[in-house]
């Protein structure tokens, strides 16, 4: 799997939010995105996933142009800051509803993903009643449950305790080993230094530095 961004630009209401983004990403690698609040990290994820259209440039996934040949990345697991699930459904019901859209996995796979994140699949509480840490774990479970080729994680360790952070880091490394292309945006420098093979620094919608 190869994901390429060529001269990607996006502005909203006259304000440039992504400017001249060029990326060449390949599977089995963890990429870290670092930047201040409002630097464009989340918008980059939205653009790369296909959830937001770009004004100019091209995003290409294995030869398929996003927005022309495909509308969204065909095998994607994503976690975005502040995005939630259906508050009235349990974690298992939420993930089952999402999995039903593509029918790629069985109930056992969903249960396994929930357990991997240290949650109880038989928990009868609705998602709306979960603690912040549990909410973060269940959205991470939805991101990995279908074993996607591309995983985008925006602040994956938000609201997690020490054990939770340790678990997530371990899962990210397992997913990398599986061959997934992983993008992580994080304020946590330790996350980036421990996990990322390559780091992009973002500022005002641009990639200002690569390491």
């Amino acid at each position: 799997m190869k994901l390429k961004a060529d001269s990607v630009f996006k502005s909203i209401k006259g304000k440039s939010i992504l400017s001249d983004i060029n990326l060449d990403l390949k599977s089995g690698t963890v990429y870290g995105i670092v930047g201040r609040n409002g630097s464009g990290k989340t918008m980059l994820f939205r653009a790369l996933s296909g959830l937001m259209k770009i004004d100019s440039g091209e995003i290409n996934c294995d030869g398929n142009v996003l927005g022309k040949d495909i509308s969204i990345l065909p095998s994607l697991g994503i976690v975005l800051e502040n995005a939630g699930l259906y508050p009235e459904f349990t974690g298992l019901m939420n993930l089952s509803l999402l999995a039903k859209l593509n029918n790629r996995i069985e109930k056992d796979d969903i249960v396994c993903a929930i357990k991997r994140l240290g949650l109880d699949p038989s928990d009868k509480r609705p998602y709306g009643k979960y603690s912040l840490g549990m909410k973060q774990r269940i959205v991470l479970a939805q991101a990995i449950m279908e074993k996607p080729e591309v995983i985008m994680l925006d602040e994956p360790t938000n609201a997690l305790d020490e054990n939770g952070i340790k678990d997530i880091r371990e899962i990210i490394l397992q997913e990398k080993k599986r061959g997934a292309l992983i993008l992580i945006a994080s304020h946590n420098k330790e996350d980036i230094s421990m996990l990322a093979d390559e780091v992009f620094y973002m500022s005002e919608g641009r990639i200002s530095e690569r390491q």
Partner: protein, 272 residues
């Protein structure tokens, strides 16, 4: 779909509640009369009749409240996770919209049969000839109206959120209903048979198509039950108009859904 079953309890309660004034009646009620009541036929074209119209219109508003977020809910807090898995949004929208239609029929059927059951407990109901034909027309016309107005709420909600969508669509419906109060003051609407000019004006209001006894029909068993204005107003005309409006709305919905971008998280349902 299974999650919505509980909502039909409200349909049953409303259906029974609507029929309360007719229980303990000494007369034997015909099933066609009961359907006519649900089909707004007690409404008369006068400013004071508007309250009667709105009273029966509450059953439509009830469905709109229950299912006004049927499609839109996916555009709320879980939108990112939902649509990052939805490769063909237009097909998805079409499927969701189509699955709303049986729910509209179910809502109407439950209302009519719970109301009829309620009357049967205290009075007698006669299933007269033509009543099932009238039921068919009632279901066809009212379900299409329920369907298209509820789809409209969902589509508008995607653009401006659910609160605004309810206000706009309810506002349009109340405006259309209030036209009857204005027309009710005009004597020309009382003339029987109604002149073509006034009949066409009446038919130009989309809500008029909901009033069963304003319609005309060649079916003999329905004579005396409908056609109070003796004007040319076929059931097929109403069904066709609502089908055209529904198709148009679905087409608009497909465009809206396809163009929708997920730039900010919509946390309207409070899911984060």
């Amino acid at each position: 779909m299974r999650n919505y079953v509980k909502y039909f309890i409200f349909s049953a309660i409303w259906g029974s509640f609507s029929i309360v004034p007719y229980i303990n009646s000494d007369e034997i009620l015909c099933f066609s009369d009961i359907i006519n009541k649900f089909g707004f036929s007690e409404f008369y074209l006068h400013s004071t009749g508007l309250a009667v119209f709105l009273q029966w219109y509450l059953s439509i508003l009830l469905f709109q409240v229950l299912f006004g977020t049927f499609i839109y809910r996916h555009f709320c807090s879980a939108s990112v996770y939902y649509f990052s898995r939805c490769e063909r949004r237009v097909q998805w929208f079409f499927k969701e919209a189509v699955s709303l239609y049986p729910l509209a029929i179910l809502h109407l059927l439950i209302m009519v049969f719970s109301g009829t059951f309620f009357i049967c407990l205290t009075s007698s109901v006669r299933f007269d000839a033509g009543s099932f034909c009238l039921l068919g027309y009632y279901l066809a016309i009212h379900s299409l109206w329920l369907f298209l107005t509820t789809i409209l709420i969902n589509i508008v909600a995607i653009k401006i959120r659910s609160g605004g969508a309810f206000v706009i669509v309810s506002g349009i419906q109340i405006f259309l209903a209030s036209l009857y109060a204005y027309w009710g003051e005009n004597q020309k609407f009382d003339e029987i048979p109604m002149s073509n000019r006034y009949a066409n004006l009446l038919k130009s209001n989309p809500l008029s198509h909901l009033v069963l006894n304003w319609h005309s029909s060649g079916i003999k068993s329905l004579s005396g039950k409908i056609d109070i204005f003796e004007m040319e107003f076929e059931f097929v005309e109403s069904i066709s108009l609502y089908i055209i409006l529904s198709v148009l709305l679905i087409a608009i919905g497909c465009v809206v859904v396809k163009r929708q971008e997920f730039i900010v998280i919509n946390i309207e349902t409070g899911g984060t």
